[in-house]
Amino acid sequence: MSRTANDQPPEGAAILGVGLVLPDPTPALLPSAASPLLALGPAHVCGDLPLVSVLPARAQRRLGRAQRLALGAAQQALDACPQPPGPPEEVAVIVGTGLGCLGETAGFLENMVQQDEREPMPARFINSVHNAPAAQISIAFGFRGENLTFTHESISFELALWQALALLRAGRTRYALVVGVDEISPYTITALRERTTLGEGAAALLLGPAREGLPRLLAVRARPLAERRPDPSAEADFVRGALLAAGRAPEDVDLILCGSSADGVLGIQRGTFGRLCGEFCTAPAVGFALAARGVREGRVPDGVLLDGALDRPLSSVAVYHLHEAGYQSIGLIAR
């Protein structure tokens, strides 16, 4: 019998700003790869990579793809917040990335193999570590609070949110900038091409002290599954349990955003984030960003809703993900 997680206080954490870097909605091929045996797509690919104002352009062009996507999302979330968070010691940075900095890792190793270790690429090595996006965010914005990177496949972003809530509740930080990012790569396309259309992107939530009128992150839960596909009643129990711990019933939830269009839980009106960005480990971050903006603005983009027009104003949105590799996650954002 699983021990119940401590009741999460209903106030949760306020979402002070949201950032979202989406790929092109039309899948396309990657320009090139190191070998003709690698597949190039089609996949959802981000166009021009973001350039942020806080770092010199040359310094950014030297960074890896995941770092640049993460910086772009982070900057947006910070810009959306009327007052910049601070002081620096009180801003934590937590990143979730399923596969990390693939382009830099591949670039370093391809060069190493092809050149028999001559003429290495030190900048690529430095950028290849999984915590490179989190490190670069802290350097760019000067944030000196706790800094972590979660790298657990398809629950990486949810774990980052969980950790943020734990830090905020314990008073170990005042703000938490939580970013989810994964980049497209010919290696992932080649490894997974039979199964799905891959994508890439980044999303960021700036969490902080509760403030009147702002959407709040009330709950997040992520766990591995005993079986690949749990039976529907077990799924429902998982979602209901998380909602109850946040002081809500399923009837209170206006919309549930899922990864794929097949999912649906507890009769809640459905939407999907998968169509906007393709599949990648931290795609749920896109779902959370859409949920946060949805609760704030009362609407979500076209193409997200699955059950026709919304039948009521948006004030409470759940984000649910069931991944066939064996993970389940649920989050709730509400006024």
Binding site: R58, P120, M121, P122, A123
Partner: protein, 90 residues
């Protein structure tokens, strides 16, 4: 001798992706790091690789690199000393 300095400027621009910089904008006597071009320690590592690639010189100690990269002139002297009387691509 000037030819080596000019070549090195081109190679530095290429190795470090200094898109907006032209060779005549680089003062060969000026510091490359901190002030001047404002390069940093990661650029220094890339220049170490550049020397290996074009001149077959392999620097293994940071301190040697620091002195060699003080300025383009210092780098030209370093290359000449390491290669002997006829500097050029390896």
């Amino acid at each position: 001798m000037d030819e080596l300095v000019d070549t090195l400027k081109q190679q530095i621009i290429e190795a470090l992706n200094l898109e907006e910089v032209t060779p005549d904008q680089i003062d060969p006597a000026a510091p490359l790091f901190g002030a001047g071009l404002g390069l940093d320690s990661i650029d220094a590592l890339e220049l170490v690789v550049m020397l290996e690639k074009h001149y077959g010189i392999r620097i293994v100690e940071l301190e040697v690199g620091r002195k060699a990269f003080a300025s383009v002139n210092a780098l030209a002297d370093f290359v000449r000393k390491s290669k002997g009387p006829c500097p050029g691509s390896a």
